[in-house]
Amino acid sequence: MFDKVLIANRGEIAVRINRACQELGISTVAIHSEADADSMHVRIADESVCIGPNPVNKSYLNTHSIIAACEITGAQAVHPGYGFLSENASFSKMLEDHKLIFIGPNHSHISAMGDKIQAKKIMNEFGVPTVPGSDKAIESEKDAINISKDIGYPVLIKASAGGGGRGMKVVNDEKELKQSLPIIKQEALSFFGNDSVYIEKFIDSPRHIEVQVICDSHGNFLHLHERDCSVQRRNQKVLEEALAPGIEDEKKDELFQICISAMEKMQYLGLGTLEFLYENGEFYFMEMNTRLQVEHPITEMLTRIDLVREQICVAHGEKIFTNQDNIKPLGHSIECRINAENSSDFKPSVGTIGLFHPPAGNGIRLDTFIYSGYKVPHYYDNLLAKLIATGRTRNHAIKRALRSLNEMVIDGIDTNIDLHKKILSSEEFRKGSVSINWLENNISSL
């Protein structure tokens, strides 16, 4: 096993990774910006290196500093967490050039899946169902009009390099298409430095279902079942659950087989998540995340496989300890993302946390980095904690999540705890199977 790993992240995920390393007997190096000198991920690491000032491009995205930090500490591998450099193929390549291990897939896979058009094409070839649309970038307005006519309106214009809900627009007819195309191309250029866009069928009110895979270098390509991440606001996941309610097992199994077979064809390594839209019994591949996901804990709770531990192990060349037949998810698990934002107007909140009293007890897991007295900086994202409630049934998990949200105290700043209580108490959510538009459409009446 590695002797020392550098964790190139901050916040709850850096704490999560640090714990996995400690449990594997690996020494850890935390990196941090100046503002994060007192952050929990620094406090619990064995060593820490300040790598730059507060803006992320000068610290957590500063590849040179991070590699220099590996050099001076003797770290053999880098865990990128999620966000930041986790899907940066050139960083992964740089590490390889410096004989350092990137805890993640091969950089060619990162790069292939990073380009949404290419990813879709590859998956299509591997037999993964995708949304009908242009198989390549739109060449001209005429091209766009023809393709849209073939698919049938409404269609979605999407930046090839897009993500996080940016650079996309639904158009309902040819007139709207003509108006929006140049605008989206311009947006794509300014956000992602690339004006390439593509067009696909707009799925009206689908659910977001994703499949977790893990692969080692010994020919094992396993799926860890699915997650339902349909409760979203502005294309950001708010609450996730596993397994997905109301979808037949055979339908799921079929999808898992397709995913696994695609991974095998790619010779993929490590953790990955294939994201699908699901509507009227059909799955449509959206994209593949070639990294650890925020919502990985719900899969851990059901399968009892420590994903971060296994991710580190397979990056080191070990075999996955189990096999597909032994992976039997049990119960139901819900993750509530506790953000530093107002439950009503969603304004981000910064400041000093007064009393932090976390919920606890049977079936409750809390992944966080905050503590009583912690000062939440404004430079970084506003995820404070992930509350994971697991029960025997979906109903039990919901009740457990609610009782633990009631126990939780985070003084001094605004949080979205109340929003989660409303979601979990709503009739429609309790019935299950809400679409990705549900929260946005019902948020004011919850």
């Binding site: 190096v29 100046e34 007192d38 929990m40 620094v42 406090r43 619990i44 690491a45 064995d46 060593e47 820490s48 290196v49 300040c50 790598i51 730059g52 000032p53 610290s59 040179h64 500093s65 590699i67 220099a68 930090a69 050099e71 001076i72 500490t73 410096h98 007064g354 009393l355 503590y371 009583s372 007295g373 912690y374």
Partner: protein, 146 residues
């Protein structure tokens, strides 16, 4: 009822002891006489920092003090310090030297690249805070010039 006089002496004494011994509460009783003082609030920001931590820069308290010192030349990057241009050569600068702005003070090696670090201050080099081949982090004070 006779007017009650509070004897403030013992309260002040205990309060001082509280600070000195880093306590949260002291209760004191002698016969009929009893005092209890307590202080809260500050525990919050104390130490949710459970693990013993070795910071790469081997920060001493002394160095920590220089972080906000206007005389400090601070490291602009993470890397390894070289005080000479090459092994065996003379140091770029020595304590007591007069330093001009723009003068090379030392080299920081990062990613196999040698980065000469120039002074942004002018004056006398009063202290070198780092040793040859020492690892430094961003913002770490390297030298004091006044």
């Amino acid at each position: 009822m006779a007017k009650k006089n509070i004897d403030k002496g013992p309260i002040k004494e205990l309060s001082k002891l509280l600070e000195e011994l880093n306590l949260v509460e002291i209760s004191y009783r002698d016969g009929d006489f009893a005092i209890s003082v307590s202080r809260g609030g500050t525990q919050l920001i104390s130490h949710a920092a459970p693990t013993e931590k070795k910071v790469i820069s081997n920060n001493t308290n002394q160095e920590e003090d220089f972080k906000n010192d206007p005389r400090a030349i601070k490291s602009p990057m993470v890397g390894t310090i070289y005080l000479q241009p090459e092994p065996g050569a003379n140091k770029f600068v020595n304590e007591g030297d007069a330093i001009k702005s723009g003068q090379t003070l030392l080299i920081i090696e990062a990613m196999k690249t040698m980065n000469p670090i120039e002074s942004n201050l002018q004056g006398k080099l009063v202290k070198v805070l780092v040793e040859n081949e020492q690892a430094v982090e961003f913002g770490q004070p390297l030298m004091l010039i006044e």
